[in-house]
């Protein structure tokens, strides 16, 4: 197969040319994205293809890069919290928590117990919303249009609930250093209690419509096998690594907040493929519901914000802190270093999606294009989080 004049390469950009340097004779270089239906935003993947087969793939990032880490250098710690809601629109509260948790660790601030419960409840609700979004979008990647509507039907309820304390629906900035901004009111708690059985009643429908469907099973079984060893080399976390059979969950391994008091399981799957990751996320619905249920029962009365919580003019003490939480996509880590100045000296955001996506080049090699899309979706990418 030779290049025909009709398909002659037009001069590409820096990345295409850099990628094309190692291309095989007669292969087709295809840019998936930055505008492509299955890249969930503005991810761009350059793939070298031989017919339908992917020989090589290279994700190109940076289309949504906002340099949050630089912004952290010009804002004080308390002023930086709104940025955290914008890093990952899927699981904004996870990022909220990672940042305020890191600052609390740095300054040694104790959070009131009720606030811890409120954080767990809202964070888990947000995780459910994130998984629902992933579920719908993933099936859209696989060509099923209807599930996303059912998922959004449920997600809408969640967003309505989260809107009560936070006031927003997507980019929350709800946690504060030393607690949360507002307590959950009666109405909110009642609606959460209503939501739990509702969500449970929906899960069998998800199973019937999608999980058991033979077409879906054939699409994701055996696709994108990630060995635990590869997970380790790439630093993958979250459902990706649990889908590879490693029960690694920050909520259990580096427990924070009130998670040690709660009774929940860490779903894993030995399948290591897209199916394994799918199963893990579906199983996490039930676990999150369990956590929320227990928290509602155990939640004590009291303050939700510590007395003398840091104001925007507050200066963080000297030192460094690293705090990680389990986000919907994996380990969200925030590393802070402070020299005692007005702003933090260095803020490093560890995005789970970033590490998970770096696996893609390796996993997609030799698969066919449709599988590459299925793998990309199974990693659960949120581009703003990857690009930060």
């Amino acid at each position: 197969m030779t290049h025909t004049p009709l398909l002659e390469q037009v001069a590409g950009d820096f990345y295409t040319n850099n990628f094309a340097k190692n291309a095989q004779e007669g292969s087709l270089i295809l840019n998936l994205g930055p505008q492509h239906p299955s890249t969930h935003g503005v991810l761009r993947v350059i793939v070298e293809m031989d017919g339908e087969y992917v020989l090589r793939a290279e994700p190109v990032l940076g289309y949504l890069h906002r340099m949050h880490e630089k912004m952290a250098e010009v804002k004080t710690a308390a002023q930086f919290i709104p940025n955290m809601g914008r890093v990952d629109y899927g699981h904004a509260l996870g990022w909220n928590w990672a940042f305020v948790g890191a600052v609390e660790k740095l300054a040694g601030i104790e959070v009131p117990e009720r606030a811890e419960y409120v954080r767990v409840i809202t964070c888990e609700l947000n995780r459910l919303a994130s998984h629902l979004l992933w579920w719908g979008a993933y099936l859209l990647d696989l060509g099923a249009f209807t599930p996303i509507m059912y998922a959004f039907d449920d997600r809408e309820k969640l967003l309505d609930i989260l809107q009560i304390p936070t006031g927003s629906r997507l980019t929350y900035s709800y946690y504060r250093i030393g607690g949360v901004a507002e307590d959950l009111n009666e109405d909110c708690i009642a609606r959460i209690r209503e939501f739990i059985p509702w969500m449970r009643s929906r899960l069998p429908m998800y199973k019937d419509l999608v999980s058991d469907n033979i077409i879906l099973r054939k699409r994701i079984e055996g696709v994108g096998v990630i060995e635990p060893e590869a997970c380790r080399r790439f630093g993958a976390t979250g459902p990706v690594i649990r889908g590879s059979g490693i029960a690694y969950d920050i909520r259990r391994s580096d427990p924070y907040s009130v998670y040690p008091k709660l009774d929940f399981e860490i779903p894993t799957s030995e399948l290591m493929d897209a199916r394994g990751r799918y199963d893990v996320r579906i199983a996490e619905f039930e676990q999150s519901l369990r956590i929320i249920e227990q928290c509602l029962d155990m939640m004590p009365e009291g303050e939700v914000l510590v007395k003398g919580a840091p104001k925007p003019s507050w200066k963080a003490p000297k030192g460094e802190a690293y705090f990680a939480v389990e986000g919907a996509r994996g380990k969200i880590g925030v590393y802070l270093a402070s020299d005692g100045g007005k702003t933090l000296y260095r803020t490093k955001l560890r995005a789970p999606g970033f590490c998970n996506l770096s696996l893609f080049a390796e996993v997609s090699r030799g698969t066919i294009l449709a599988d590459a899309v299925a793998i990309l979706g199974s990693l659960d990418l949120i581009i703003p989080e990857i690009d930060r």
Partner: protein, 187 residues
């Protein structure tokens, strides 16, 4: 034996397709979940926190509680607030006389400048609705409005003076204002 198993599996696999059709068929017949906005009202707008607004003082709902201290502008992560303080009013001759008298007596002159701001310029296009300004306001003079219908044709439509907004909005819905004011004063 193996072949029978295989056949059974194939049948059950194909049956999963029928199950899927049953689910969509069921929902096809069920009522829709869509709210036909804007013909019907949405149920979740009352907990929404929209752009900032000033809280009227308990006595006069058109006069903000704000004391022009500027804490909100200082606290704002995105610098979207600007407080313009009132200039001291030009003293009338009597007042001037009184002032001079007071000075002569060695008393400190009382500041007659009204505390409420001349202007409170708010750039909604920069605001991230984090609520830091409200939390740092010593007078409790700021709150989120529930206005979900904020729309405009240009960036400048989102740059407005909250003091003016307070008057306008109150003029538009006096009854609601009274209710708001009452509610606030109770709080």
């Amino acid at each position: 034996m193996n072949a029978i198993k295989q056949a059974c599996k194939t049948v059950s696999d194909l049956w999963s397709l029928v199950v899927g059709l049953r689910v969509t068929g069921k929902y096809f017949l069920e009522p829709q979940r869509t709210v036909r906005y804007p013909w019907k009202a949405l149920a979740n707008t009352d907990t929404y926190k929209g752009h900032l607004e000033l809280v009227g003082s308990p006595k006069d709902p058109f006069k903000p509680r704000c004391i022009s201290c500027g804490m909100c502008a200082l606290a704002c992560p995105s610098n979207c607030l600007t407080v313009v303080k009132r200039k001291a009013p030009k003293p009338t001759p009597e007042e001037e006389k009184a002032l001079a008298e007071a000075k002569a007596n060695g008393e400190k002159p009382k500041d007659k400048t009204p505390k409420d701001p001349e202007k409170l310029i708010y750039d909604y296009s920069l605001c991230s609705l984090c609520g830091t300004c409200m939390e740092n306001c010593p007078a409790g003079a700021l709150r989120f409005s529930r206005n979900i219908y904020m729309a405009g044709y240009s960036r400048n439509d989102f740059l407005f003076d909250l003091v003016v907004k307070l008057r306008e909005c109150d003029a538009g819905a006096p009854a609601q204002t009274a209710a708001h004011a009452a509610e606030k004063s109770e709080a």
